[in-house]
Every structure is written in structure tokens, then in C-alpha cells.
């Protein structure tokens, strides 16, 4: 039996070509995960930035707004709670409308009888606390649909409350 059989033709050029093609394709496959990693890192960085912005960096005007707010929690159980505001919400119409309402709410509260003022202030404080708690919980579980829904509800409730208190100032015209 012969120890080797010579091929009918030289196969090395074809093999070399195929290896070359595979080698050329391989780097492209390696770059795809890197791109995804980069994109994920960007999204992660963005999320962290949004979280930091929401929790730690009130936008300009927020301080004045906080100063205008009533003592939301006289017991001081929510220190700085009033600093949480919706300014980070990107819709400028929302931010503008909220700022306008916040501007008028203090005057309306001042005009209310003291017991009513205390009750409403406690409610505003409850909303602030709820927003803060929800944002904090979302920080731990950002994709939690329940928390997202509750946070949206709370923003809507805040606007409703601000609107109701604002309209309550129109004595005799109802709320």
C-alpha cells in the first residue's frame, strides 16, 4: 500500500485562499460584540447621568421654587424633600406649566384657613415623598413597570393637585 497518494492537482492555493477569506472575515465578527458593548456602556452612562441629574442636580430655578413652597413637612421628616421637582422632565411645556402653578400655589395656600393649609401642605409633602421613594426604587430596579406606572401616576396627581389648589383661589367660581 503506498504511504501517500499525490492529489491530481496542487490544492494549496485554494486552501490558502479559503484561510485568507476566513481570516479576513474573523475581525468583522469580533468587532460586533465590541460595538454592542460600547453602546451598552453609553446607555448605562446615560442612565446613570439621568439618575444623578434627577436626584442630585435640581435645575436652575428649583431653589427659588423650593423657597416658595410651604413647609411641606413641619416635623422635618422629609428634609430637602421639596427639592425634588419635575424640572428634569424633558417636556418644556410640562416644566413651564408646573413652574407657573408652583408660583401661584403659595399665594393660594396663604389665603386658606390654617387647618386646610396644613392638610394641603401635608398632601403636597406626601406627593414629594412618593416621588422620591419611587425614584429611589427605580434607581434599584430601573425597568420595573409597576414603579414606572406609579411614578407617572404621581406626576399626574401632582399636576392635578397644583391645578386644584390654583383654581381653589378663584373664590366663588369653584375648583
Amino acid at each position: 500500500m503506498p504511504r501517500s497518494i499525490d492529489p491530481p492537482r496542487d490544492l494549496w492555493p485554494q486552501i490558502e485562499a479559503q484561510l485568507g477569506a476566513a481570516g479576513a472575515a474573523a475581525p468583522r465578527r469580533r468587532t460586533a460584540p465590541l460595538r454592542w458593548l460600547a453602546a451598552a456602556a453609553m446607555v448605562g452612562a446615560l442612565a446613570v447621568g439621568v439618575w444623578i441629574g434627577r436626584d442630585l442636580m435640581p435645575l436652575p430655578g428649583a431653589a427659588a421654587e423650593v423657597a416658595q413652597q410651604p413647609p411641606a413637612n413641619p416635623a422635618g421628616a422629609n428634609p430637602g424633600g421639596a427639592a425634588v421637582n419635575a424640572a428634569f422632565v424633558s417636556d418644556p411645556r410640562y416644566a413651564r406649566q408646573r413652574a407657573e402653578l408652583m408660583g401661584s400655589v403659595q399665594a393660594q395656600l396663604n389665603a386658606m384657613p390654617a387647618p386646610a393649609r396644613a392638610k394641603v401642605a401635608a398632601s403636597l409633602s406626601a406627593i414629594e415623598a412618593a416621588k422620591k421613594d419611587l425614584e429611589s426604587a427605580l434607581g434599584k430596579d430601573p425597568s420595573n413597570a409597576l414603579l414606572q406606572e406609579l411614578l407617572i401616576n404621581t406626576y399626574q396627581d401632582e399636576m392635578r393637585v397644583l391645578t386644584d389648589v390654583h383654581e381653589a383661589g378663584n373664590a366663588g367660581r369653584g375648583i
Binding site: P113, A116, I127, D133, D141, L146, E149, R160, D164
Partner: protein, 297 residues
């Protein structure tokens, strides 16, 4: 002699005080004809508004007014009667007026107050009631109700008849007894307590207020209750049963059905299941409140 003089002075002072007190208030009475299903609008800032329905097609107003109330203005046009307590200019919550108004029982009633309490009985038409810090108490029949307060407490007594009920408050407590039809109720820190007969749609929401709901639902009804930190206690029964989903982020879930355990997810708890044929749908959600779901007995 000194005793007699002292007594005389005291008697004189008492008489003067009585006269002065009598001069502090004035009364107002007026009666105007109205349509049986017309609109009656009442606005008052402080004091009280008492409205009752009667079988006559007239609106009768009796008012007791503080001196610092300017006047009561009554305007009547076909299908509409407007009663307004007028305060001097720039007075936001000044003098009190106590109004007692009788209206045709099927009237559409609109009452708006600031700190005045409102009490309504025997009016079967639509009611639209607003108050800032005043409490509102009313009974309803089968007509729609829209009731809003800021800090005032709300008490509504129904007859279990289908109607659209929209009740919102900021910090006031809400008590609804024997409601029916569709309920949309919303408070921030107030407690929401409701009993419902034949409800087909319930949407209830609080932020920190607790919620106690006792409901008999119609077939295929939808029921949704949400709080952020308030506890949620629901007792329900439904024709055809209902499928339920309960979820909380950090609260506890209990039911009275036995044998079921709330599932613990990566974060939070959830419980789902079905009662009867599962024709209706119930969703209970909270962030940190505890939830209890039981059958209505």
C-alpha cells in the same frame, strides 16, 4: 344699694350685648319659580349650604348672613337659577352665610364653596359639587356625581343605582356608601372608603392614603386600585367572577382564598389568580403599601 347698682349695670350690659349680637347678622328670604329639571347654581364662601329637594317647581332660599357679607344675589332665567353670596371686594374668606335652599328634586345642582360645608338631601338630578376646605355630604340616586374638594372631607350615600361617580380630593377623606355604576376616585393623603353595589368600572387611586373597598361587581367589570404607600384592602364579589393581578414593590400581599402564596420576583411580590369564571378583571398595585384581597361576604 351697691348690689342693686351692680346688678343693674350687669343687666344693662347683657341687654346691650344681646342687641349688638342681633345686629351682627341679617336674614334673606326669596322664592323664585324654576323648571323641574333646570340647573340650580349655588356659590358661597364661608358658613354652610344646605340643599334639599322637593316636589315643587320653585327654588326657595333662606339665608342667615354675617354683617360682613354684602348680599345674596339671585338670578333666575328659563332653566337656570343662580344663587350667589356676594362678599365685599377683596374678601377671600370673610363673612359667613348660612344658606338653606330648597330646589325641585330633579334639578341639576351645582354648588361651589370655599370653607362652607355643604349638605345635600333628596336631590336626584346630576350634582356637580366643589369645595376647597369645606366638607361635603350628599346623597345620590341614579344621576351622575362630580365632586371635588381640596381638603374637605367627602361623604356620599347612594342607593346602589348605576351612575357615573367622579370623586377627587387632595387631602380630604372620602366615604362612599352604596355607590353603583362607574367610580373614579382619587385622593392624595386622604383615606378612601367605598362600598359599591353593581359596579361595572372602578378606578381608584391614592398616594399615601389607605383604601378600603367593598364591591359587588357586575359581570365583566373592571376594577383597578392603586396606591403608592397607602394600604389597600379589597373585598369583592362579581357575577361571573374575576381574574386578579396584585403587585407590590415592597409591601405584603395576603388573600383570604387560602393556599396561595404571593410570588416573589427579583424585586417585589405579585399574586394572580381567578375567582369564579374569571369574567371580570381586577388589578391592585402599590409600591410600599400592604394589599389584602378577600371575597365579599
Amino acid at each position: 344699694m351697691r348690689t342693686v347698682t351692680t346688678l343693674a349695670v350687669l343687666a344693662l350690659a347683657l341687654a346691650a350685648g344681646t342687641l349688638a349680637r342681633a345686629g351682627d347678622s341679617k336674614t334673606f328670604d326669596r322664592e323664585v319659580s324654576a323648571e323641574p329639571h333646570g340647573v340650580v347654581e349655588i356659590s358661597n364662601t364661608a358658613g354652610e349650604v344646605q340643599v334639599s329637594g322637593w316636589d315643587r317647581s320653585d327654588v326657595s332660599i333662606h339665608a342667615s348672613l354675617d354683617d360682613d357679607v354684602d348680599r345674596v344675589e339671585v338670578t333666575s332665567s328659563p332653566g337656570r337659577t343662580v344663587i350667589k353670596v356676594i362678599l365685599p371686594a377683596h374678601s377671600w374668606h370673610g363673612g359667613e352665610a348660612h344658606l338653606r335652599v330648597q330646589v325641585p328634586k330633579d334639578s341639576e345642582l351645582r354648588v361651589s364653596t370655599v370653607s362652607a360645608d355643604t349638605n345635600i338631601t333628596g336631590v336626584t338630578g346630576i350634582q356637580r359639587l366643589n369645595a376647597v376646605s369645606g366638607n361635603v355630604t350628599t346623597d345620590i340616586a341614579g344621576a351622575d356625581l362630580e365632586l371635588k374638594t381640596v381638603s374637605g372631607d367627602i361623604k356620599v350615600k347612594g342607593r346602589g343605582l348605576p351612575a357615573q361617580l367622579r370623586i377627587t380630593s387632595v387631602s380630604g377623606d372620602v366615604h362612599l356608601q352604596n355607590g353603583g355604576g362607574s367610580l373614579e376616585a382619587n385622593t392624595v393623603s386622604g383615606t378612601l372608603v367605598a362600598s359599591l353595589e353593581g359596579a361595572k368600572s372602578v378606578v381608584a387611586r391614592t398616594t399615601s392614603g389607605d383604601m378600603h373597598l367593598d364591591a359587588k361587581l357586575t359581570r365583566g367589570a373592571s376594577f383597578e386600585a392603586t396606591t403608592v404607600s397607602g394600604d389597600l384592602e379589597v373585598r369583592a364579589s362579581a357575577d361571573g367572577g374575576y381574574a386578579y393581578e396584585v403587585s407590590t414593590f415592597s409591601g405584603d400581599i395576603t388573600d383570604c382564598f387560602g393556599g396561595q402564596q404571593a410570588q416573589k420576583g427579583y424585586v417585589g411580590h405579585s399574586l394572580s389568580g381567578s375567582r369564579g369564571d374569571g369574567a371580570g378583571r381586577m388589578r391592585l398595585k402599590t409600591m410600599s403599601g400592604d394589599v389584602q384581597l378577600c371575597d365579599r361576604t
